[in-house]
């Protein structure tokens, strides 16, 4: 086990009825780390969170907190607190009563409770709200009370289940920064569940990308974005053109690929990256914003060149998407390039020949392609 590791789970399996929700989730969270579970709905991220909190028990696999196996402990014995998606504030208690709920159970002295409640309220910028009824608060304020209630007991680990999901966009952005700052200041490890990739990239120290009950990849936001390991990760975070390619024999440290059986590419491998044997197929991703479109032959040095036809262009305000037809054998498999809004091509310019350029290191080699 990693010396710094606070939480270690896995390999977790869990089924509800005949539906396998978790199929071997394995991961760890370091002390003081902001870890995000990212994935679409139904991917198992919330179930994993509920298992860590103790609300569900796994069919197999263990949960270790600070090196101690807590799998069979009930929620109230775990040094873990949760911020619930819909806040779950006690409607029969006022703001201070909600925050002090856990402290009262621990029979903390009332003077100490008052001091720590005020401290927690100050942290979430709600001083003066002690006596307010929780039902009279706005969504953002309820969110802050839920947060204060969860951190006032100073748990080793805080679990947050899509806590900003119910807030409007502007408030979300504000709360994202505030949460991140709060986490740094407190030094408590956060496990943050979200389906919003932008939120995950903004806030996290590391991201675990969930899909179909498995963790597809764990890494820093930079690693996840720059070196996706699977087509799901490449497509879910940032979006990507996914192609199929045949591996050609080549020198070590580089990959020679035949993209969609038409374009031959020579791309460098990352250190430690391995490639299937020659003749096998792999999936390949190219991010739209890394595809440059030229009307003349003026390519940057060393870039891969694709002769293409400009088929369509979609205006998005500050950006536009350009649809390029590359392949003669598979004309429907277009490459999408994203460019500045000023590159938007009017209808007159459609169906003209263009050149698409991609730097070799921007071609990500993903998992073996088993469909081909």
């Amino acid at each position: 086990m990693n010396g710094e590791s606070l939480l270690e789970v896995g390999p977790l399996t869990k089924s509800f009825g005949s539906t396998a929700v978790l199929k071997g989730v394995h991961l760890f969270v370091r002390k003081g780390e902001f870890m995000t579970f990212l994935g679409p709905s139904g991917c198992g991220k919330t179930t994993t969170l509920r298992i860590i909190a103790g609300f569900e028990s796994p069919d197999s696999g263990r949960v270790r907190l600070s090196g101690i196996d807590v799998t069979d402990q009930p929620p109230y014995e775990r040094d873990v607190h949760t911020v619930f998606q819909h806040y779950a504030l006690f409607p029969h208690l006022d703001v201070a009563g909600n925050i002090a709920f856990g402290l009262r159970l621990q029979k903390v002295h009332e003077a100490e409770i008052a001091r720590r409640t005020a401290e927690a309220l100050a942290l979430v910028k709600l001083l003066g709200f002690e006596k307010r009824r929780t039902t009279s608060l706005s969504g953002g304020q309820m969110q802050r009370v839920a947060l204060a209630r969860a951190i006032v007991g100073r748990p080793a680990l805080l679990l947050l289940d899509e806590p900003l999901g119910a807030l409007d966009l502007k408030l979300r952005k504000e709360m994202q920064l505030e949460l991140k700052n709060l986490q740094k200041r407190l030094g408590i490890a956060f496990v943050y569940v979200t389906h919003d990739q932008e939120e995950a990239l903004t806030m996290s120290d590391r991201i675990a990308v969930f899909n179909h009950g498995r963790v597809e990849q764990v890494g820093t936001p930079g690693e996840i974005y720059e070196s996706p390991k699977t087509s799901f990760v490449a497509d879910f975070i940032g979006g990507a053109n996914i192609f199929s390619a045949r591996v050609l024999p080549g020198p070590s440290g580089r990959a020679r690929l035949l993209l969609e059986d038409e374009f031959e590419l020579d791309v460098p491998l990352d250190p430690g990256e391995t490639l299937p044997d020659a003749g096998k197929r792999v999936r390949v991703a190219i991010r739209p914003e890394r595809v440059k479109v030229f009307y003349k032959d003026e390519l940057p040095f060393g870039s891969l060149r694709f002769d293409a036809t400009l088929k369509d262009s979609v205006f998005l305000g500050d950006a536009c998407q350009i649809y390029l037809q590359l392949f003669k054998k598979a004309p429907e498999r277009m490459m999408v390039a994203s460019a500045g809004g000023d590159r938007y091509a009017a209808h007159d310019d459609l169906n003209v020949p263009v050149i698409a350029a991609v730097q070799p290191e921007d071609v990500y080699i993903l998992e073996p392609d088993e469909n081909a």
Binding site: A53, P74, P75, H86, F90, H92, F101, L105, T135
Partner: protein, 263 residues
Amino acid sequence: MKRSRGMGLYCAGLYAFLYLPLGVMTAFSFNDAHRNVVWRGFTFKWYRVLFADAELMRSMLTSLELAAAAAAIAAVLGLLASYALTRHKAFAGRRAYSALLDAPLMMPEVALGVGLLSFLVRAGYELDFGALACAHALICLPYTVGSVRARLKSMGEEHLEEAAMDLGATEWTAFVKVTLPLAMPAVVSGCLLAFTVSFEDFVTSFFLAGIGIVTMPIKVYSMMKFGVTPEINALSVLLLAATALLLALNAVFASGPDEASRA
């Protein structure tokens, strides 16, 4: 305009059909005459007669005690059953259990009365106040379960008990500190309904009342054998007023928790 006037007349007719008998009854309870047909002047006499009737007053007290006992039993059982149905993972026969709790609502009371009577007699149990209270609790149970189960269900979706346990409460503490206070308005509302049901129940009481137990409806029934007296009118008016009060209270408690928990 013509159409709406027709509708107005229809509604007036309907309300008259529903409430005119009650109005007449109320009026004649203040009529200074032994027979109901002629108005002879205003009086409180019949109310005085009513309260002076020791037997009737005793039956009234019996019914009140019975309703209180039945409502209390139904409330406790209803709370426990609702908790089991809404908080515990699926157990074998849960759906049947849930349906059976509602069954007394639809069950013919005559069948229930006969069944309980023959059961208690065969079991050698004396038909005392306790037996009658238990039988009443049975017919009251759907009302307390209905009210409490709905409240617990909506609370479950808010994950409030989970939040309490997350903060260090055992299941029992979470029940006492979160579930119970929040479910209390629904429990009270269910109790008020149960109380009304038990208080005015005739059939089950008629089958099961042993010697010496005379509930108010049974007493009124026996009084009716000698015709509808102004005294009975007065009693009915009082019951009507009491029921209206209970319904109003119930409306307060039934709407209370929803407003309080609105997020």
